[in-house]
Amino acid sequence: MKAGIIVFPGINRERDMAIALERSAGKKPRMVWHRETDLSDLDLVVIPGGFSYGDYLRCGAMAAQSPIMAAIRGHAARGGHVLGVCNGFQILTEAGLLPGALLRNQGLRFLAMDCHLRVERADTDFTRHYQRGEVFRAPMAHGDGNYFADDATLDLLEGEGRVIFRYATPSGEVTPAANRNGSARNIAGIASANLRVLGLMPHPEDLVDPLMGGEDGKPLFDSITAALAA
């Protein structure tokens, strides 16, 4: 698997992502500066977390207009794999590669804590190393992670099986208390229709080492590494 991490100005979790990818894939991903335009060497394009353009205007809005987005769109259109985490998820929705939008957290405060995610589908290239219904822990760290889409879009996502992760209790119940940012239907991560573009708010890349408190996030990177093993 050849992975590349897109670096927009203000992105700040690119190194965390590189550590997680290297841990699973055994080789370093390529850091791709946002002014580059050629992604044809990559199997997996990752947009990491951070505050691209300072989160000014709206989170991800300015990055979504950046020239490299044309290349990312092309990669996705060719059936390539794209992973967007946190700000990366926001950028994917702003660019229209995933539906919906991420609003301010319902409590209007930044949330830095571990959350629990229930795996809704274990038959995607990103989740095969999890079991369906399995719950795993992931740190979250965001001010704008409140997933919103209109009811028709939400119904479509559910109908097509594109909700991949939901906020849940450690025992897997989908409750309002487990949904700290207020996301519609507890949605933490969704995929494109072909299941190859995945966006999620929490940070599985920050929990891939027992020393940091666990390896709950590692199956996600093991899954995509296995799926794209050349």
Binding site: Q65, T93, A101, L103, Q106, L108, F148
Partner: protein, 79 residues
């Protein structure tokens, strides 16, 4: 001339900031406060002189970048 773009969350999109402002106003003793909604105002200096063209241009900017029409609506005024 100057284009003023007002961006608001669409009706039906929960606006926790507006809600918090409303509660704070009530807490300060202001009575008769109904729904409060918070948005943003973006002022853009434009070098052109044709107000119609400026408006069209600012609307294009709003659609493309300044507003996210999934969740927001906008209004453009040119002065």
């Amino acid at each position: 001339m100057k284009a003023v773009v007002t961006v608001m969350l669409k009706a039906g999109v929960l606006d926790p900031q507006g809600k918090a402002i409303g509660q704070a106003l009530a807490g300060l003793g202001f009575s008769g406060v109904g729904e409060v909604r918070a948005g943003k105002v973006i002022e853009i200096e434009l070098t052109g002189t044709d107000p119609e063209a400026a408006k069209t241009q600012a609307e294009e900017m709003a659609r493309k970048l300044l507003a996210n029409t999934v969740i927001e609506s906008f209004r453009v005024e040119v002065a």
